[in-house]
Point group: C2
Chain length 395, copies 2
């Protein structure tokens, strides 16, 4: 039974990923320090509904399916905590079988502060983001170097690493011809937030590890994810993932649908021409799974652009308005002064064929898909706090 | 009187830079946490001679010249320590006039763990390098953002950020044409050590700060520096800079001359075809000074390649042998298995015209210059410990 270790297993993507692999029969271990929950409390961001602790969720999952997801609560920015996951010294906070599972064949690394606005609130939140994200990645690379050189690392990067260049965005790499000579480099990266810049630096670190120590790494340049439900969360309502709808941790589609449900005008930043690639949370799980099934080779940093389609902010707002109005909401769209420093009109032509080439079947953001998202959010309408939707964190 | 703040003012380059600006009449403040000295003690690296504390040096400088270099002993990885340098809350550990000097017009940032082998000793030294280097740079950028947007930041980067690409190395930037469209990017970076990778990440961070907050930044891509003496150190022997000759903190020319003096065969790693750009410590001071006199503009990340000439390792070994033998040493050259993972034969064609265009007059590594370096090192021959020269830290 193959072992998947999921770092950041309590997060928006981490917990659904854990259930997904567990359901397929993998041995799964999740690790988290509750950073996201604690930050939501500190910043009073609100949540669509409260979620059980990671240990409670693992117990519910076990009761409902008979399957075990082992739980470790630890701060992986501490090198020793990371190493204990590989050297057998780990203590599980919850497990059916408390014996060490052994070296994982695959590590899925989500254990990062994931919000651009959070990273730019002030110097302290910038420092937390930088230190957490870089240390966790570096500690992980050293643990794999020292204990697990055959382990495949699947790391969540972001399409935001590329920024919005004036040339086509390739999948991770670019061949450059210069003064009659050629070389291939990591595609040039210039991110639009400090959070996104830490992901650029993660890629720098992993590329170093791959070149020096022949590690196997897949770096997934993911776009903003939307959605709540996955096949596994349907088993029990308490297994649904954390869902934020505020400016800091809420992703745009999730925010817009929530705003529409409570009659809060959709917050379009500036002109709304900002174009990005998006994907359904179900496709995140699929992408990680096909990456796991087709691992990178030793000494390979394999990069995929993990998006299924592109939209401008205005297109997303219009889609939300259309579906929302049909469901009886009065959806307004309101352009507000852009709190971010970013181009509101720009060239954007990313390639994203690699994951589909190895088997991913995209879900698209159709009116039906958005309709179902509305249906779920409406169930929790009473919980939505208008006061936390937008605070105006400036870049 | 213009104020220059020097971070890492106790180091190999920091202290000579402080005296250089002080001698020219600038108000100078130096900050250090004695990282380098403490690491030399911990790792038992040896030093050619012991140097007084930063406070003692500042006092000697004051006695000899009447000039004041204010001293702060602080760990700039702590955000609050950095901010106190800008908000008036700083306490000087030594100063003639204890009043706050005010916001500096220029910050020279050397406050980094500077050794590639140190960064790869083990996971703990990797973690220390990553955390120190990235936090100091990020804390500095935020302090400038919040208190000093007109301050010019001069940052020591490294030519090692570029690695050894198969195309010509430009000064920081590269215009790329791809599928009929064009854009200009940071020159692609892929470094050969974790230390060098932290410098790549510093550049990522500074480029973010420049784009978001219109900061003024000069990033100096420096090659390995050699030499001991500067004009200012000639005033008093106790003002000479820290000089290491071991594998961890010693730079190659300094190491080779020291090895030659004690009859230790010159340690050529592998084939010795590794080619890099080099400069005299006097030219580091000159480069920083001309950069200060010709600052970057608001919203400009200006990058210079700070080298004066290129040599292969074999060429440096042969030059050392020639000069050493003439001085009566029996200099042997010995190729040892390369502890590093690096190309031993490679294309290398860097541009380095920018600093000379704004006024730098290069010193070259002539036989006369090396002869004088031998002369100084020979004075301390009794202090040289053969046992610490090479320990074989592997990449």
């Amino acid at each position: 039974m193959k072992h998947v270790l999921i770092l950041g297993g309590d997060g928006y993507l981490g917990w659904p990923t854990a259930m997904y692999f567990s359901n397929l029969g993998y041995q799964v271990t999740v690790v988290d320090n509750y950073f996201r929950r604690n930050a939501c409390t500190e910043l009073d961001t609100g949540m669509l509904y409260s979620v059980p602790t990671l240990i409670e969720r693992a117990k519910i999952w076990h009761e409902q399916t008979g399957r075990e997801i082992k739980v470790v609560i630890a701060d992986l920015a501490q090198p020793e905590a990371m190493r204990r996951l590989f050297d057998g010294g780990v203590k599980y906070q919850w497990a059916v079988n408390e014996e060490f599972t052994g070296i994982p064949e695959t590590v899925v690394h989500y254990a990062e502060q994931p919000s651009a606005p959070y990273s730019l609130m002030d110097y302290q939140h910038a420092d937390i983001t930088l230190v957490n994200n870089l240390r966790v990645t570096n500690n992980l690379l050293w643990a794999i170097r020292d204990y697990a050189r055959d382990t495949h690392l699947i790391k969540l990067g972001t399409m935001g690493e590329y920024g919005t260049p004036n040339i086509d965005i390739e999948e991770g790499w670019l061949e450059v011809e210069h003064k009659g000579r050629k070389d291939t480099f990591l595609y040039p990266r210039q991110a639009g937030s400090l959070y996104h810049t830490t992901k650029v630096m993660d890629t720098d670190l992993m590329w170093f590890g791959v070149r020096m120590w022949d590690l196997k790494v897949t770096d997934l340049m993911q776009g903003p994810v939307y959605g709540i439900e996955t096949e596994e969360s349907a088993i029990d309502d308490r297994l649904k993932t954390i869902f934020n709808y505020d400016e800091i941790f809420g992703t745009i589609v999730n925010r817009f649908v929530t705003q529409a449900v409570v009659g809060y005008p959709l917050t379009v930043y500036g002109g709304g021409g900002q174009t990005r690639g998006y994907l359904n949370i179900r496709d995140t799980l699929q992408c990680v799974h096909v990456s796991e099934q087709n691992p990178a080779q030793k000494g390979e940093l394999r990069i995929f652009n993990q998006i299924m389609e592109t939209f401008s902010v205005n297109e997303l707002a219009e889609l939300t308005q259309k579906v929302g109005n049909r469901r009886g909401h009065q959806v307004e769209i309101k352009s507000i002064p852009n709190p971010r420093k970013e181009a509101e009109e720009h060239y954007y032509n990313p390639t994203y064929q690699g994951l589909q080439d190895i088997g991913v079947k995209p879900h698209y953001l159709t009116e039906e898909v958005m309709d179902r998202l509305f249906e779920v959010v409406e169930q929790y309408r009473e919980n939505i706090r208008k006061d936390v939707i937008f605070k105006g964190i400036k870049w």
